[in-house]
Symmetry: C3
Subunit: 312 residues, 3 copies
Amino acid sequence: MAFKHKHLLGIQDLTASEITTILDTAESFYEISTREVKKVPTLRGKTIINLFFEPSTRTRSSFELAAKRLSADIVNFNSNASSTSKGETFKDTILNLEAMNPDAIIIRHPCAGATHYAATFSRSNIINAGDGAHEHPTQALLDAFTIRQQKKNFKDLKIIIVGDILHSRVARSNIFLLGKMGARVTLVGPPPLLPREFEKFGVNLDFNLDRAIEGADIVMMLRIQLERQAKNFFPSIREYRNIYALTAKRFRRAKKNAIIMHPGPINRGVELSADIADSAKSVILKQVENGIAVRMAVFYLLLGGKDREAFD
Amino acid sequence: MAFKHKHLLGIQDLTASEITTILDTAESFYEISTREVKKVPTLRGKTIINLFFEPSTRTRSSFELAAKRLSADIVNFNSNASSTSKGETFKDTILNLEAMNPDAIIIRHPCAGATHYAATFSRSNIINAGDGAHEHPTQALLDAFTIRQQKKNFKDLKIIIVGDILHSRVARSNIFLLGKMGARVTLVGPPPLLPREFEKFGVNLDFNLDRAIEGADIVMMLRIQLERQAKNFFPSIREYRNIYALTAKRFRRAKKNAIIMHPGPINRGVELSADIADSAKSVILKQVENGIAVRMAVFYLLLGGKDREAFD
Amino acid sequence: MAFKHKHLLGIQDLTASEITTILDTAESFYEISTREVKKVPTLRGKTIINLFFEPSTRTRSSFELAAKRLSADIVNFNSNASSTSKGETFKDTILNLEAMNPDAIIIRHPCAGATHYAATFSRSNIINAGDGAHEHPTQALLDAFTIRQQKKNFKDLKIIIVGDILHSRVARSNIFLLGKMGARVTLVGPPPLLPREFEKFGVNLDFNLDRAIEGADIVMMLRIQLERQAKNFFPSIREYRNIYALTAKRFRRAKKNAIIMHPGPINRGVELSADIADSAKSVILKQVENGIAVRMAVFYLLLGGKDREAFD
């Protein structure tokens, strides 16, 4: 049951049993955020650094609140104000922060592999908060927590992930996780955003959402980054929406008790219609809530909270 | 004596007795910030979010310090770094933050009514930190706290509010509050910035500062936003200053023990002269100090601190 | 042994014995950052403001972590988001922050003398985190802490400081400190960046690094600000590097047990070669680590922690 990893770099490194350990631990932390006093002394005196080389509201703050609810000290860095603009290398930035004796460094970086590179020389626990189009493990873990909350287990669930698969670290981490947990995953999107090579991950590919959604237990929509994909990968938002947006009509083809997921922030009227976003079948806000519990669990397992239960 | 509101959206919603409750509560918190140890455990384990869609130094930090001195956890968001720029709606931003189980969300937004809208669907306590040209209730409350500190009560005080009334949420919240508390308010400013319709609030209007200031107990100056009004609403800063700036000479027409107020940040040499800003009659910095006590009181009354006095 | 100063504005104001007091105090705090629980309650309930009018990663965060590890509350301000852009004077900004009853205000400002000016009217403890090209006292103190850690004492050490002396507050604070502690300092750089008037500080000047480095105990490299100096003060980065960069070959002329220092962030391949930066003789990251201990000591000595040892 012990968790042997020093870092959380990606789902690819975890076994099904380790994933289960994280989800079980998250369950025990879930309740804390619903209390009158949402704080436990578990990680008092630990220092955590939030190092973001890309802008973020929800992920940064979710980590920040998770740390504070465990009584850890957390310091935020954004790349704008940082030394990177002064010509310092990524490695030197990490080494300098590390010289301040943090226990963990959470890193979001536009380059795939940045956090893995940091882990090769870092004494601190490195937590990947998204590296390029590679992995975003805490997102996949909170998605898994939400799925388990709703469906009890993963075995034989039919899960479709819809949208810009090519650029999505969320998709990639979910593909790894859901495969390990025994779910059947189908990726759906327009051909330029759904490369054939994804088949090697043991998933199905489908360019036709109306067909793929038949009998799905989970419909996981990805965000269309209007500023980017619209220009290069499909003729128009309108055309994309006609074929790949989740609408109430389309969702009726899924299983009766199917649920709707999205990593946020959502574009109403683009990848999903407003009635779908607000539907009782949507667990999008549950995902956000569960993010705190999952990140508390990750901190706890990596930072050695195990031995400190009796603290205070 | 109990405080029945869930949110603090505006002064318009409060009775005189509720305003008095807030001011009395603030009085009991005032002393904490002057102690050696400026911190009480009253709101330990509560989560407060500072959500600012407009830049701010003093208001954001005043809320932040008030929260920290009550031992609450507070997380800051600025709209720049936020998901708003990614196309997320205001409502979705609030709902997403709320999914993280905060106890209160402080909102500053350029649109009048934004916080009222948030309150229609929010489970958290919403605190209005300024919504467009509508209300800025904690500013009016700290102004009231300062007036009471100096003048004991409001009854029959002659208070003039001078400047850009049209665009000022500070003026509006003060008009409501001072009216409820029994003061006599005169609004002063150039005709384009002082619309006739303000008469419906039971105040006097005067375009002539030299006349309006006669016998005033309180002279409350508003900030001229150089970047905006100067261009559109009066011929030149110089002309505005000649007619509406508070100078030592002009201030002599007020009551002997009159005081000078300003919500800050001040423009020395624009809406008030430097000697007036630094005068012994100015309580501008007292207002800033009192802001902490008033915001601690608001947190305490809204977040249910009442039942937790014995905590720790 | 008591520390009599209210502010820490510059090394120029300190005696050798006061510097020793700070370093001794820092030694007692050094160990806290290496513990499992990196936090002591010494300054619980104190409020510290980090007021930065220039961007900074490491200095701001080093102060922030030092404050948090002493359990003080710390609030960050950056000039971008601040009222300065709204036309408020520097003095009014300080007075307004001070009205919130902070115990200390840390100030970084592009103008030399800004913190000294603040100290003339401030009730809080002012800590200079860098004022123009004038002083950066906590940097010199952490450098001194590092030197003492490596060399036991300062007496008769040969220390060379290399680079853009003219614009460097780090150089200036180090010149003052090292002189008071009895070290022999030589400043090295190209003539336009090494004005003759520095001789009045009792140091040697040398335009020739190959000569100056002979027999040095400490080689302290300064950062070349590529965006500025390259254009105006020397023909090209390449030429500067040929003459003034620290390379392994050049470093061999120093004493056998000489060490390499740099205030960071470093420009690999500009003022020092990559192998020098990563050399076992480099104590650059030690400097960063020691910064936390030194800043904890400064907080402790200024904020009256002395009388509160038994607190909690």
